[in-house]
Every structure is written in C-alpha cells, then in structure tokens.
Amino acid sequence: MRNAAIAHNVGVCTPNNAKIIKITELTHNTKLFEIQLEDEHSNNFFDYSPGQFVLITVFGVGEIPIGLTSTPIKRGSFELGIRKVGNVTNKIHQMNVGDIVGIRGPFGKGFPIEENKHKDLLYVCGGTGYFPIRSTFLYAIARREDYGKIMFLYGDRCPTDVLFPDENDDYKKREDILFHQSVDRDDDKCWEGNVGVVTTLFPNIAKEIDPVNTVVFVAGPAIMYRYVIIELEKLGIKNENIYLSLERKMKCGIGKCCHCGIGDKFACLDGPVFSLDQIRGLLEAL
C-alpha cells in the first residue's frame, strides 16, 4: 500500500485552500476539475493512492467526499470528477477556473494496486464508479509491464452519461487492454456498442480470466455490487481478490463523526475500498 501523505499546513479539520485550474465538461451532469493546493509546499507534498478520496469544500455551501480520479504518478495537481446531484455538487458545477475551494485529505484506504503487481487486473465500474477506478487504471497502464492482463468493464445508464468517451476509444484500440463498454438503455438509438447492464459484458472476458491470478476492482452504485459479485463468483474468483469501493455519508473523513459506520468499521478509515471477504464479515455492508 502506498503511503498516503496528508498535506496539511493547518490541522486536519481545516481545509487547505485550493484553486481550480481546469474544468472539463464530461457530460451534461459531470465535470472534471483539476485542482492545485494554494500552499506550494503542501501541493508538492500532496500524494495519494488510487481509490483514496478527498473532502472538497465549497465555502458557504458544504463539504463532500469525492474520490480522486487522476493518477498519483502525475504530481503538482489532481483531478476530481463530480456528478451534479445536490447542493454542493450543483454549486461546484457553477464554479470557474481560478475559484477557491477547500481540500482535506487524501483519506481512506485505496485499491491495493502496488501489492498486486504481476497479477491480472479486472476493473468493473458503473456510473460515477468510473472516477475512483480510473485512478488505479491509469496507474496500472502507466506501469503496464508490472501487470498481467488488464481488463475493463464499464457500464453507464445511457449514451449521454458515458464518461471519458475519447479515452475509452483509445483503450478500445489498444491491444494490451481488454476494454468493454455498455449502456443500460439506448432510447435514441445512437449507441453502437453493447446495450444492457454491466454484467452483460462478462461473457466478453470470461475466457480470459485466470481465477487464481486475477484481482478485481469494483466501484459503482450499491445495487450493482450484488449482481457483479454473482458473476465474479461464477468465474471462480476468490472473495479476497475482489475489492469494492463503498459509498457512505461522510462528514469528517477521519473516523470521528461516525456517519460512515458499517457494522464495526468506518468507510473513511478502513475503506472506502474493502475486500469482499472483509465485507462478508461486516454487518450491514451490502
């Protein structure tokens, strides 16, 4: 596990002032924000492991947890992909380059990517689950030679919701990556690829799976997990090699406010990424 460095010059409960340096519109309701801490030292120091999250504050509105979606290999700034769903996210979407937000973190335990060198990697994600997954995926393909097969299954609700279409097209072209994509519904008949929930993509990779040597990283809406797990078990992948990122309400990010409690664990300290065998032992998890 990479050592997460908390870059705080003010104490962990107070956010660092940070600047939005770039905004990319991804879909009608998602944007990608590139962010830099104002304090240069903290910014240089800022490091994270894929799957970790930060708490981003919109001053005057509130603070929310958002998974880091860039790769820690790239230093000097980081990226957050944010979907508009409520107060804070709506307000972030109205902000401009140069505006100041607050950043606390990175917090939590990410995906064990370094620990699983030389393994085959299978990524499964749905909706905004793409964001945290992207971080570890970018990390792995940047060190392509360290890993075996890399497989990626991505499903989203409809064609207009699809995230990073250009990046996806690049991956699809690459021979060293198996990238498959689908949408749940295609009402306007404008989608050329697969239509159906993400689990319908599994047959595409079933033959490629070496159950003993594959590690799976999953992120998406809560309902997706149940069905994905069934597929993974059909493939014979062991629970301890399946990692899921769980979402919970979070106010502090550091195991104090208790909102993210899952049985006797905290999503912010012990997660958000848990292995499936950990989760099986967790009361109240799925």
Binding site: V58, N87, V88, N90, K91, Q94
Partner: protein
C-alpha cells in the same frame, strides 16, 4: 452581479405572525434589503407588484375557494414557493376544526338561520392546493430560518433543516427534561427541532408547532403519556394543536387514535 432576486411575502388565513416575524429581523433587515428586492409585502408596504417572484413566501392556511384560486395564480408566478409557519405547512390551530363534525359545529355556531352567511370549507395547508418547494416551520415562522433560507438560496442550495427532535436542542442547552422529571406533557420527542427548544427552556411543554420529525414515534410517545396519567381526550388535545394537517399527525389520529377517541371525525372535502 445579476439583478437581485425578487421576493414576495404574502399571507392567507392566519394571525400574520410569520410576516410580523420577518419584520422582527430588525438587526438584519437592512442587510437583507441589500441582497434581495422585496416586491410584494402587503403588511409592510404599499405599491406591491404581483410577481413574477424568484421566491414567494406564503403564510397562512386556505379556508375558501377564492383563496384557492388566488394561491394557484400566485404559484404560476413563482419560481420557488415556500410555505412559512404552521398554518401554511400544517393548517395551524384553525385546522383543529377539521377533526370536528362540520355540520354540527356550523349549526351550533351560527344557528340554523345564519348557516349560509359564511362559507366554511375544510382548513387546508397550502400543499393541498399547490406544489410547495420548501417549508419553513414554527408558529410563528422562525425568522432566522427564514433568513438562512434566503442566504442559502443566494449562495447556492437550500439549508438542511433539523429533522431531529426538540430533545436534541433541549439537551444541548442543558435543560431539565420536564417530560421525564416533572410529568409535563411535552411533545418534544416527536417534534422537529429548530426552535432551540424554546418552550421547554422556559419549563413549558413543547406544543408541537414545528410538526413531526421524520418517523416520529407517536405510538411510544402516547404510551408514555398514558403512563403519566393522560386521558384519551387529553392526548387528542396534546397532539392536535397547530399540526392537524401534518401527515404523521393525521395518520396517527385517523388510523390509530380514532379507535380510542370516538369523537374524532375527519371532515372529508
């Protein structure tokens, strides 16, 4: 900055306390006027404009057809419509009469001859007539909640109102629990906080003017009141004060409590 949001504050049937509460924001009023344009506030000024409103605050309950029509027209002109106070949100004290036999009351009140002189329909909270976007509670409306709402609207988003019981604020203030220790019939455990436990802080029972919390435990509350010696009629009275048309109050009274208190009759429209 774009032009200031246009605000209206209108009243239907009630005591006008919510409007007056807004005027009681003496320390903040001038700042507030710097942020918004109040275009319609009949209680405080002449020369009012009937919309269009960015936010329209509506006080009072609806008690006749004419008001229903007027409210519907106002809704058309308002981007955001906010119910303020118990009357607009839950019918207010006058909604007590929704739980009494209308015909009998009418005859008893006017005598048989006068019965047609005044139209009496059921007292309705405004959400029975139009779509309501937000509720600001208390009787009269909590002026700071009103101010918060305007501020949040301007900054972006809506304030999260406390959805926990008055007991939270009672404990936070270090009050003596008058329900537990003095047997005073306090409704605090089932009522939404936000008033800073006003009544219990003065040793007076919470009258429930802010309406029920999410998932209020009426069964348990009533059980405890019975253990403390309240009669069936007492309990009906404690529950039915400002909140007659609160969803959970209505459900509790008509689905559970009617078996106990046979005098409860709900006026259908």
């Amino acid at each position: 900055m774009a032009s200031k949001p246009q605000i209206g504050i209108v009243g239907f049937t009630g005591c006008a306390g919510c409007q007056l509460s807004i005027l009681d924001l003496e320390n903040e009023l001038l700042d507030l006027l710097g942020l918004v344009d109040i275009i319609d506030f009949r209680m405080a000024m002449s020369g009012n404009k009937k919309g269009p409103y960015d936010i329209l605050f509506v006080e009072g309950s609806i008690v006749n057809k004419h008001q229903e029509e007027e409210l519907k027209e106002l809704r058309e002109k308002a981007k955001v419509l906010v119910a303020i106070g118990s009357c607009a949100s839950f019918g207010g004290p006058q909604a007590i009469r929704n739980y009494r036999d209308n015909k009998k009351t009418k005859i008893a009140q006017y005598g048989k001859d006068n019965i047609d002189k005044v139209e009496v329909i059921k007292v309705k909270p405004i959400n029975k007539v139009v779509k309501v976007d937000h509720y600001l509670l208390e009787c009269p409306v909590n002026k700071y909640e009103f101010l918060d709402f305007v501020k949040y609207y301007l900054v972006g988003g809506t304030p999260t109102l406390p959805n926990y019981p008055v007991c939270q604020q009672c404990k936070a203030k270090g009050n003596r629990c008058i329900f537990l220790e003095d047997g005073i019939m306090c409704m605090g455990p089932v009522i939404q906080a936000g008033c800073d436990a006003l009544c219990p802080s003065y040793g007076m029972p919470c009258d429930g003017c802010r309406g029920s919390t999410l998932e209020a435990a009426y069964d348990q509350q009533v059980q405890l009141m019975i253990e403390k010696g309240a009669s069936v009629e007492d309990i009906t009275r404690y529950i039915l004060k400002y909140n007659g048309e609160d969803k959970q109050v209505h459900e509790f009274l008509m689905e559970k409590w009617k078996e106990q208190d046979k005098k409860l009759v709900y006026q259908e429209d």
